[in-house]
Subunit: 97 residues, 7 copies
């Protein structure tokens, strides 16, 4: 899926996966954790932040990565009827397979 | 449209797009999101911030870019009867097509 | 107008323009904006801040510039019967023509 | 145990050890301390944070290390029926044997 | 007037001028400003702050300068019956003639 | 006494000395000070923090040092029946003899 | 007077002078100032803070200096029956003669 939203800086666009149980990697998210992470797929990444010399330092996360992020991170955008999230890479906890 | 407002530093002038549904890129903004972004067109950009050597690091956003930004960002200015916003580049979430 | 107030660092002296409608550039400031900017003319600028090597990085704003700034910025000083403001360059939103 | 969660930056995945008394090293955690640490085993570590040149600075903690951490650190994830924690290395107080 | 108080770092000793109207430069301070500056004469300055190499960066303000500062800045010291103020250079708004 | 707790970064393990009066150096801690320091012996030190090049900058405090620290610093750990504290070097006020 | 308290980093040990009027330099501290400084004699100084290269930058204040400091600074320690204070150099306002 190619989208026409190009995030700025260290932001990325994530499509959240709503289903509670997925089997890839066997990860099941807890019901009652104090801070529930949520799964998603990365659709677009920004160019990264610039260092002191003004060069971009590319993000660790790439398009297509499956990620865990804190549940209420980011800003919601609707795109072709789908709910997407624009968040910063620092909101991403981990990549999953 | 050429305007006579020249933002300072990493600020830019954005003309917000008020209509709820636009078709360019098919992006429709949600009604009830906790933090609604808003679309706009960039009319003018500042020279960027200076690094430690005093050189300007130009902004990622250019004049004419269509952008998403958090709804209550920036400072309102009226210009030729239009409501414009002066905000910082860090208030811009993404560029859209 | 030459004044005998020499601001320090990245501060500048601004003479605010009180009239609501000016025609230069056609900019009219809104009545009910949440954060009303105000227009003014720069009368004096400081030498700028020093970088890590101790060199001054001159300000973007020059004497004579017309500027927009957030309405309640700075410190009020009376000079020859006029109300002037001493503020930091970071309080300036944009230059106008 | 190989897991399919790859933490980002300076984060790591820790499997907490719930039992109150362990004998390895003879460390017994107090009942009534104002800030109770908890023991755990490190299952996966991120690549570290990048310095100003953009190079990764690897973490001090390695996979397999037994660690003490403040009890309510991190984000809970369920994996193969186990409760795991994703936390930052700065939440780790010490390594134990 | 030579005094035996040697301020540290970027601090300076200022003798405040209490009279409301002075004529040097014609500056009269407002009665009802939200943040009233006050005039004073600099009696002693510190060596400045050190940069990352450990060298002192001397202050912009010199002994004998007349300065404007925010009214409730600094720490009061009595010296030979006079009330002096020890403040940081960043509390100084401008030099006046 | 060799312990099997290896603190991370600029943290150290301190065994607090509970007795009110000790004679080494003649230091007696006050009864009613607003911020009572406490004495202790350093049992283990971390490798220090890394500078921007990623090199460790070793701590000023060494194993065996007697130290003063603010009374409620750090995290309590029980070890072989003793109450130990894991704290950061910045919590240490001074070394004593 | 040699003492066996060796402060860490940019801390120093000060013996406060309690008497209200001293004649050295003729400085008399005010009764009703909003922030009363207090006089003292420096008994010991730390090695200073380390810069980014890990080198110590020695303090401006030396053993034996008479100093002014904000009255409620630092941590109280009793030593040979005297009340001493351990504070940071940044709590020192000025040296006096």
């Amino acid at each position: 899926m190619t989208i026409s939203i190009k995030p700025l800086g260290n932001r990325l666009v994530v499509e959240p996966i709503e289903e509670e149980e997925i089997t890839a990697g066997g990860i099941v998210l807890p019901e009652t954790a104090k801070e529930k992470p949520q799964k998603g797929i990365v659709l677009a990444v920004g160019p990264g932040e610039r260092n002191d010399e003004g060069e971009y330092m590319p993000l660790e996360v790439k398009e297509g990565d499956r990620v865990l992020f804190a549940k209420y991170s980011g800003t919601e955008v609707k795109y072709d009827g789908k709910k997407l999230l624009i968040m910063r890479e620092s909101d991403i906890l981990a990549k999953i397979n």
